[in-house]
């Protein structure tokens, strides 16, 4: 017996359940062609649709494990990012002071500092995002195990 066709030739509940879930793609050709001809199985699809629509309502309300954001790990990632951003502003001391306004060398040094900062900030933001993604992945696996 396959996943989708019973020994009596009619479709299994798994096949009908997949149809109700709009997952027709899982059905093989024999199941599909049987369904197109069998009013008994089509009637079972109708009955099952009604039952599953109501079961969906219950499952939607039941206090099952729901996806929640992994706040602790996101906070840790955010902290890493914040430290990185703070570090990127650390060379403010190199800002040209008023009495060196006229010195092109001081401005050049500052401009050089500014051009390197976006990379540092970008790297930290990327690290934050990666931390969050890893945390989410881990928490998803934990919820479904």
């Amino acid at each position: 017996m396959s996943h989708f066709v019973r020994s009596d030739g009619h479709l299994t509940d798994a096949a009908l359940s997949a149809l109700v879930d709009s997952e027709d793609g899982v059905l093989d050709e024999s199941a599909e062609s049987h369904l197109n001809e069998c009013e008994l199985c089509l009637g079972r699809v109708g009955t099952l649709t009604e039952t599953l629509t109501r079961l969906d309502g219950d499952l939607g309300r039941a206090p099952l494990a729901r996806p929640t954001l992994p706040w602790r790990l996101i906070a840790a990632g955010g902290l890493v990012g914040a430290v990185g951003v703070a570090l990127s502003f650390g060379d403010r001391a190199s800002l040209p002071s008023l009495h060196t306004l006229g010195s092109s060398l001081a401005w050049l040094r500052h401009v050089h500092g500014v051009t390197t900062q976006p990379w540092l900030v970008g790297g930290c933001v990327a690290m934050t995002v990666i931390c969050a993604a890893i945390a989410h992945k881990f928490s998803t696996n934990m919820r479904t195990q």
Partner: protein, 174 residues
Amino acid sequence: VISLSFSNIGAYSKSVDELAHLRPRVVRTVAAILRQAPSHPDVEDCAQEVMARVLERKGQASSRVDATQNYDAWVLGVARHVAIDRIRARVRERNAPPLLLGQSEAPSEARAELRVLAEHVAALPESQRRALLLFHIEGKRYQEIAARMGVSMGTVATWISRARQELLQKMEAP
């Protein structure tokens, strides 16, 4: 532009002819799923909707139809979806209570029953529970679930179906 328009009209006429030929089977399919007589207004409505959807999607579907060489099966598939959508809408329109909430009047009792349902879900065999939660809670498609769990889509369909049957049996038990 004129020749293009004429070719479109030609394709459209062909679809209408094909559909007219298929209409009795569409009506039979919809009537069987809705469990109504073919002359029932809901069946008529659905059949009309199927015709409209098929004509709208004719362009998109042509590649798939060419690939499978099975236009009839595709149209009947659309008919099944329309009928399933109609039943879902009918259940929601009737505001039919969910299975558990319908069994008890008091919200506190309903909440207790939903907690029991959650316990039943937790007691399911691990593979069935994971598949059910991935589908219902995380909204994953069968294909994604199969890839994540390393099994075939047929196995995923079986697990989800068995999990639901198990839950329904336990909920119906006194």
